[in-house]
Every structure is written in C-alpha cells, then in structure tokens.
C-alpha cells in the first residue's frame, strides 16, 4: 500500500520529520508557522516543500509523536495546532543524536580529504 507521496529523497524526509519535531519543542504551532520557522531559522537555506509538510505532520501524528488540536492562530484564524508528545520528545533526542553521529562521521571523512 503506497504511503503519502513525495518520497523522492529518504534523507530529506527523515530530516523534515526531525526539523518539525525540533520546531515544536518551543511549544505548539500550526503548519504554516512550522514551515515559516524552519525556513526562517535556517536563514532561508531550507525551503519546506509545503506539499510534503502536511503528509509529514500526519505521519508524525499517526505515530503518536505529535498530537493535534484545533485552535485560533495569531492571525485570529482557525488553525490546526500540533504539540510534541513525550514519545515525540524521545524520538527527537534519538534522531538528533543519530544525526550528529552521521554529520560527525561525514565531517571526519571530508576532513581527511581537505587535510
């Protein structure tokens, strides 16, 4: 059974999940904010493909890493807010350390080339 689309890049997809979780650590947010925050904090380097944002959010919700509720946004509009769960927090820690390991490893490899 096919899952949501946009699985062109597994690495990016995993990263997006991690970034979403990281964004939510400061408190609940709705989809638009999440995208905005990611883009803003990365100095517009990372562009969130909005078509894959929502499937990612639903996937995270399905796995129980985030929970969702309807609320009112800063623009005074109705919006769906996502909140990090305890499981999500644990997942974030795991993924972050795994990410650091990979980055470190790649860094070491690349460092040797430069040296």
């Amino acid at each position: 059974m096919p899952g949501p689309r946009n699985q062109k890049n597994e690495m990016l997809q995993g990263t997006l999940d991690m970034l979403i979780l990281r964004t939510l650590i400061t408190g609940p947010a709705h989809g638009h904010t999440i995208a905005h925050v990611i883009e803003h904090t990365s100095d517009e380097v990372l562009q969130v493909e909005q078509g894959s944002l929502y499937p990612a959010l639903h996937r995270l919700e399905d796995r129980g890493w985030v929970s969702a509720y309807w609320g009112v946004s800063e623009n005074n509009r109705k919006a769906k807010f996502y909140k990090l769960t305890a499981a999500g927090r644990k997942q974030l820690v795991a993924e972050t350390s795994r990410w650091r390991q990979i980055v470190g490893a790649i860094g070491r490899v690349l460092g040797e080339v430069e040296g």
Binding site: P4, G31, H36, Q50, Y54, S73
Partner: protein
C-alpha cells in the same frame, strides 16, 4: 490502526481540507503583509502549496484498505468483459474445459496413485516376487515352497503371508439361488500384516490355518449385508461353500477391499490346500505379502530373500528347471497401481497441455484486444495511471475469467469423475476416487496460476515505454504494433507445438488401439456366448464324476433350440494366461542344464475347435472315448510344433507332463496340431497344448455357445440346463466372447479416445488463434494493402503474401511440435502395441493435418484482404 483510519477517513478528509484552507489563508496573510492585493496573495499561496486536491487524494488513498481498489478493478473487469461477451464466453469456456479436465485427472491420479493405502504403516508393506527363468517375467508370482524358505530364514520382515485367489459356489438356503463368489485363500498372517481388524468377530489364527482344522471363513461387509441381511448372529454359524460347511468367524469392515474389490470372502489357505501342494519350489501360483521390520530398507530385505532364492536354485535347479533365478520385491501401493501409472500420468500431461493451450489462447485474445485499446491505455498512462494499475486491471480480468472458468470446471470435473469411475471399473483402487479438499485446493491453485499466466503475458506487453509511442504513432503506420505481433506469433507457435504433441500422442495411441482391436485372436469371436462354472470338490470328488457331468452338460446344451454349437474348455481365448506346465519330449535328447520347455495348458472337449473355428492343421482331435484314465492323447498348437519340433513331425511323439501337479509326470501322445489362439489380445500367442476336458482333471469349465441368432438369448436357457443338472451349481460371468476381449482393450480405447478429444480441442483452439492473429495483422495493414493494390499489386500475390505471413508461426510450431512429439512418444512407449514410437505415417498425417487446418484458418482473412477495395481501405482512417 489502519482500520481505524479507514473508518474515519471522511472526517479526516474534511479535517485536512480545513487545515489546508487555514494554511492558504495564513500564507496569503503573509503575502498581503508584503503589500500584495488579497487576490494576488491568495493566488500565490495556492501556487506555493500546489494541488490541495492531490494532497487530499493521497491521504484518502493512504487511509483506505485497498479494498475499493480491488472492487473497482473487478467492476472495471466485468464491464470490459461485458463489452465483448463473445470473447468472455469463449475464454471462460476454454478455461472451464482446461481446468475441469485437469481437476478430474488430478483427482484420479491423487486417489489412485498418490494417496497412501488405508493400512497401518503402508510404506512398510511389500509384495514379494520371484524372478522367473523366463526373463519376460521378472515379477513372477511365488511358489509356496520358496515362500516357506523365505519365511523360515529371512530376518528383515516383521511378518509374511501367502495368499491366492479362488472362487466358491455359495449354496443357497431358504430358496436363494446358488451364486459364485470371488474369494482369497490367505495364510493366518494376512490380516495382521495389513494391520486390519474385523468389524465383527475375529480373523484367522494359526489353529484355523491348518489342514485338519475346522473350515472357517471371513466375509466381506458387502456379502454379509447383501446375502445375510447384515445379521450379526451369522458369526459363529455355518454356511455352505462348494458344498462343504464353513463357520463364519468374522466380518471385515466395508472399506476393506484387498486383494481387490471383487473378493467377497477369505478362507484359510492351509486348510483349503493339501500340504503336499504347498511344498513345490517350482509351482508359481501364489502371492506373497510382507511387512518390513521398522528401519529396514527394501534393498536390504530384497538382498536377503534373493540370496535364499539363489541358494535354492543352486541346490535344486538341476532337477527342477522351472525354479526361479532369484527374488524380487516392490511396494504394495506400486504393485496395486503399477499398470495404471503410465496411462494416468500421460492423461494428466495431456490435460495440462490443453490447459496451457487454453491459457495461451486467452492471452492471445487479450493481446489482440489490448492492441485495439492501445491509445486508451497510452492516454491513461500519460495522465498518470501507474503501470502497476494497468497490470492489475489485466490480472483482475483474467482472474475473473479463470475463476468463473474454474468454478464451471469444478462442476465439469465432478461429472467427468462420475463418468470415468463408471466407465473404468478396472482401475485399481477405483472405489477410492473422489473429490476431496486436496482436489479443490488443486483447482484453486490451477485457477490462480492460469490467471497469472494468461494475464501477465499481455499485461507486461501492454505497459512500459511503448505507450508513448502509441500516441506519437501516426494512425496510418503499423510499426508500433510490431513487437506485439511478434509476441503473439511466439505464443501461437507454442500453441501449435503443444497441439502437435497431443496430436502425435493421440495418433500413436489410436493406431495401436486399432491394431489391438484388429489383431487376430486365432478363432471366431462373433456370436459366441460364454459362462463359467466350477465343480466343487465336495460334490465332484473324482474325475469320472466330473467327466460324466461335462458329458451330460454338453448333450443337453447341444439340444437347446437355437444353439448351433456348444463346447467346453477350462479357459477360452482372451481369458488370460491360464495354467502352464513344463514339458519334456521323451523322443528328444535331454535339454542342456537350466533349459526348460514350457507350454500353456488347456482342457477342452473335442467339439471346441470346430465351435470356435480353430483350424485343425494336421492329424486329429482326441475323441469322446479318450476320457478319464484313457485320456492319454494331447493336441498341440502350431507354435508348439514349430518351437519344440522344428524339423520333424510331432504326430505320434509324446509330451511328458505333470498335469496333476502331483510330481508324477505322465506321457501323452500327440495326435493333432491346431491353429494358435491368443490368451490375451495384447500378447502374441504362446505354445499351447490341449487335453480332453473329459479327463476330469479340470474342475473349472467355460461353456461356449454359438448361434446364428442373438446369442444373449441363450443365457437363460443355458443356465436352466446347468440348474437342472445340479441345482446348487451357479454359473458366473455370462458374457459374449467379444465383451471378454473388449474388456482388456478398454484401457487402450479409453486413453486413446480421451487424448484424441484433447488433441482435437487443442487443434480448434490453435486454429482460432491463427485466425485471430492473421485477422488482426491484416486489420493493422489495411491501408498498406490498399496502397499496394492501388499501385497495381496482383490480388493473388497479396493473398500468397498474407497466407505465408499467417502460416509462418504455424510452421515454426509444427517443427517444434514434431520434435516434442518424438520425445513424448518415447514416454508412452509402454502403452503402444505393435506401433513404433517414431511411426512415420502418424507423424506425416499429423503434419499434413496441421498444415491444412492452419491454411484453412488463415485463408479466410487472407482472402478477404486480397479482395479489398483500395478506395475503401485508404479511407478507413
């Protein structure tokens, strides 16, 4: 989890719609804040997000179980099939026949050949045989003396039993007619070795299995129910067998049918047969069954008894030339079904061929249809229909065809099995043939496999990169269709090849059946009625009494109105091997060490030869006066004269024969030579000798009646004659001589007819395929042909061109088919009767037939194409 999502997917969808809407609003808010108009901001937000519908569809699909996809496929498949009902009906029918025939044959093969016997640990049950001095009989039945040695010395067996077939006259009491029942005489180990227990009472123990013991009998369930009304008090009571009293000690359960389903009673062997007849080392007349020790291999056990047999041969071979060379053995199941293995597997292979052809044909038809839907498919692929979807649709369609076909096939198989069991009562374990869950599982498996086979070939060919080409393809050209045409041609060649194999098999089997039917029995077989009787020892203890009975019987039979001749013999032509004896010729020097002369032994009255029109070649027949103790004359057959008196006149010479099997051979003077007859239609004649039946040495007799009118009308008067002579004497097996001979050809006729039917069906399918492919090809080339004709191509040239085009796959298939047929004919070698496997005539006829059928089915579309009106053809597209 998934189920939960599935139930809530409508809410979820609404939720997502709202969420996306909120996102768009927020995004638009941002753009608006940058100074754009609300309208422009909203447009940009939409562009940035992409298709919201697509996102919703994705989620919807993610939340579904895939069930509706399947339902949609099925609905789509039904619609497509309904659009071309002719195709659907044809495909379903073809599949039903293929699957049905396979299921029926598989059921028979499974029940007869594969299912274990219903005995305890049947894989340890073996039949023991002797390797005869006549090397044509490596599995000869056993001499009781040899068996006794095996039983005494062999350590590889848990137990052994010896048994022989027999029959008894069951006398009537309380006004019932006497009847003749088939029985087995068994030693006391028989039932324990098989591991069967009686339904009531007990079986023989060692005290019953002795000459001096009281006579005892075990009844079959069927006989007990039919003759004794299922009355349990019969156990312990006495019944009359051959005029003597036997105590019924047990009733076997209904399922027990060994040695065969005809046996209705079992008696104790050592009680029935005097001990001096059970010591002979060279009288091969019994069956031996044994149970191997646990863990003992057949090879070890065989080696052990073989050594014992070889030892006996060394020790006594000089005086007893007919003593066997060694021992032999095979599993009980193999032994029972041995004769049916090849024919049944051949039939199963033939049905598999038919099913394969059916699948190829359906695949072929689907490809043809797919070709006309090329653009539809291409457009769908271009619009984002995934390749998997398209394959799935095709598979669903063939699955529909094959499952409807399979269900019909199951019904068809049910009736086929019913019919088969009715026609082929001669198959061993025929009573166990029934459809069970294994057969049903097999049907389901075959159905799925056919669907995949028929569906995957066209599905794989329709999808792929070629689809874009279909859109680009100019409507006038046919280039894009070439790959598909090639595939269709390959499929067709395969179909034709399989058909040719079937045709060759059918041709060879039919030819041997014809040869078999027309083989010369050596006597007249039309208008001959036969019936069997046996004079019981108790009522006819001495030869004189038996001879007197036979004389009286013949006298009265000949007096019957309508009887043109009446005769008696112990065994008639076509009835089987009968008995044989070792003969020595006192006028000849002794034979070399280890050599024997064997002749089949027959008893008859002097009128027998005239009655069956067996020619008297030289000399005379014995007379009515040469009877009882004056019966010292013998009549031999031409073959015996040829084999044993090659360069001399046998008349006046003698044969020394131990006719009575009492170890006192007597000389018999040869008085005449008669023509050869066949003891079995499929076997060549063997040397034979006739003694007068009025010698009284044979208890058995076959009444032979000929008439100018319908011989069947004589059955009842003849029975009354027997009854008037002895009211307790039953007659059995009332039939015509042609029926008796026909029964032994049923196997050949059945197999050849069925395979012929399969071959014809395949031929029809293949020609339909050829017709379809050429029609399609021509349809593709209509405009090209139109142009050719318009430019002045001769019509007969066009016809020839197209004909050759259509015939090419048939010719390729024919070549492969002939090669395959040559291989297949080696496999059915054992089923052929005086036909060589590579029978040139059969191969030529099959090739000619195939080419003409192929040419015919190509001629129609080719002819139509060559008559094309070029103007119309060019306007087609």
């Amino acid at each position: 989890m998934r189920l939960f999502r599935f139930r809530h997917r409508r809410e979820k969808d609404a939720d997502l719609a709202q969420e996306l809407e909120a996102h768009l609003q927020h995004e638009a808010d941002d753009y608006e804040a940058q100074g754009l108009s609300r309208e422009e901001a909203s447009r940009r937000a939409h562009v940035r997000l992409g298709s919201a519908t697509r996102l919703r569809e994705d989620q919807w699909q993610w939340n579904s179980l895939g069930l509706e996809g399947i339902l949609r496929d099925i609905a789509y498949g039904v619609r497509t099939l309904a659009r071309s009902p002719g195709f659907a009906m044809m495909a379903i029918l073809v599949m039903a026949l293929g699957i049905g025939a396979n299921t029926a044959l598989f059921t028979v093969v499974h029940s007869v050949l594969l299912k274990p016997l219903p005995f305890a640990d049947p894989e340890r049950l073996v039949m023991l045989y002797e390797r005869s001095v006549d090397t044509n009989y490596p599995f000869n039945i056993v001499a009781p003396g040899v068996y006794a040695e095996w039983q005494k010395d062999a350590k590889s067996f848990e137990g052994m039993a010896i048994f022989g077939s027999s029959s008894y006259n069951l006398s009537g009491d309380a006004g019932q007619l006497p009847e003749r029942i088939e029985a087995a005489r068994v030693s006391d180990g028989f039932f324990p070795i098989l591991g069967v227990k009686p339904a009531y009472g007990r079986v023989f123990d060692s005290s019953d299995d002795q000459r001096q013991a009281e006579a005892t009998v075990v009844l079959s369930w069927g006989l007990w129910k039919r003759r004794f009304g299922g009355d349990r008090s019969i156990v312990g009571n006495k019944i009359l067998l051959d005029g003597a009293k036997y105590t019924v000690i047990g009733i076997m359960p209904g399922w027990f049918a060994y040695p065969d389903a005809q046996v209705q009673a079992w008696t104790a062997l050592h009680h029935e047969i005097p001990p001096d007849q059970l010591t002979a080392l060279d009288n091969h007349s019994f069956n031996a069954i044994a149970r191997l020790m646990p863990g003992m291999s057949m090879q070890q056990a065989l080696t052990e008894i073989d050594i014992i047999s070889r030892h006996l041969r060394e020790q006594y071979g000089a005086n007893l030339p007919a003593i066997s060379l060694g021992a032999n053995m095979r599993l009980l199941l193999d032994d029972l079904v041995h004769d049916f293995k090849t024919p049944l597997y051949v039939l199963l292979a033939a049905t598999t061929c038919v099913l394969l052809i059916a699948c190829l044909n359906v695949a072929n038809l689907l490809i043809a249809r797919a070709a006309s839907r090329r653009k539809e498919v291409a457009i769908r692929a271009a619009l984002g229909g995934s390749r998997w979807r398209l394959i799935r649709e095709q598979l669903t369609e063939t699955l529909l065809i094959s499952s409807v076909g399979g269900s019909l096939g199951l019904i068809f198989a049910y009736f086929a099995i019913h019919w088969l069991v009715g026609v082929r009562q001669d198959i061993a374990r025929e009573e166990t043939i029934r459809m069970d869950w294994v057969a049903i599982a097999f049907t389901v498996g075959v159905t799925l496999l056919s669907a995949v086979l028929a569906g995957l070939i066209p599905a794989v060919s329709t999808s792929g990169k070629a689809s874009l080409a279909a859109l680009q393809e100019s409507s006038r050209s046919h280039t894009g269709a070439q790959a598909k045409t090639r595939l269709r041609r390959v499929l067709l060649s395969l179909e034709v090849a399989l058909t040719v194999v079937l045709l060759i098999g059918a041709g060879l089997l039919l030819k041997s059946y014809e040869k078999l039917r027309s083989s010369d029995m050596g006597c007249v077989t039309d208008n001959v009625l036969i019936m069997r009787l046996s004079l019981p020892e108790a009522d006819y203890p001495d030869p004189a009494k038996r001879a007197a009975f036979f004389d009286q019987l013949l006298l009265r039979l000949r007096a019957l109105p309508g009887v043109s001749s009446a005769a008696l013999a112990n065994v008639v032509p076509g009835q089987g091997y009968g008995g044989d004896n070792i003969i020595t010729i006192p006028e000849h020097p002794p034979l070399a060490q280890g050599q024997v002369q064997i002749a089949r032994r027959r008893f008859s009255d002097p009128g027998y030869f005239a009655a069956l029109q067996i020619p008297l070649v030289r000399g005379r027949i014995f007379t009515d006066q040469e009877r009882v103790d004056k019966a010292d004359k013998v009549v031999i057959t031409q073959l015996l004269a040829h084999d044993f008196f090659p360069d001399e006149d046998p008349i006046g010479k003698h044969l020394v024969v131990d006719v009575l099997l009492d170890n006192h051979p007597r000389p018999y003077e040869i008085v005449g030579i008669v023509g050869d007859t066949r003891f079995q239609i499929s076997e060549p004649p063997l040397p034979m000798m006739y003694f007068p039946i009025s010698s009284g040495l044979s208890r058995r007799a076959v009444i032979v009646l000929r008439s100018q009118q319908d011989v069947n009308a004589l059955a009842s008067p003849a029975q009354q004659v027997v009854q008037s002579l002895d009211k307790d004497l039953p007659v059995a097996y009332i039939e015509t001589l042609n029926q008796l001979i026909g029964a032994s050809t049923i196997e050949a006729s059945f197999t050849s007819t069925l395979i012929l039917a399969f071959a014809v069906l395949s031929l029809v399918l293949a020609s339909v395929g050829l017709y379809g492919v050429l029609s399609y090809l021509i349809q593709q080339r209509t405009s090209e042909i139109g142009v050719r004709i318009a430019l002045g191509a001769q019509r007969d040239h066009v016809l020839r061109l197209l004909l050759l085009d259509g015939l090419r796959p048939a010719l390729v298939g024919l070549v492969f088919g002939l090669a395959g047929g040559a291989m297949a004919s080696q496999l059915i070698r054992s089923m052929l009767y005086s036909v060589r496997p590579l029978d040139t005539a059969t191969f030529v006829v099959v090739a000619a037939m195939l080419i003409s059928v192929a040419a015919l089915s190509c001629l129609v579309p080719a002819w139509q194409a060559s008559r094309l009106d070029p103007m119309r053809a060019l306007r087609v597209e």
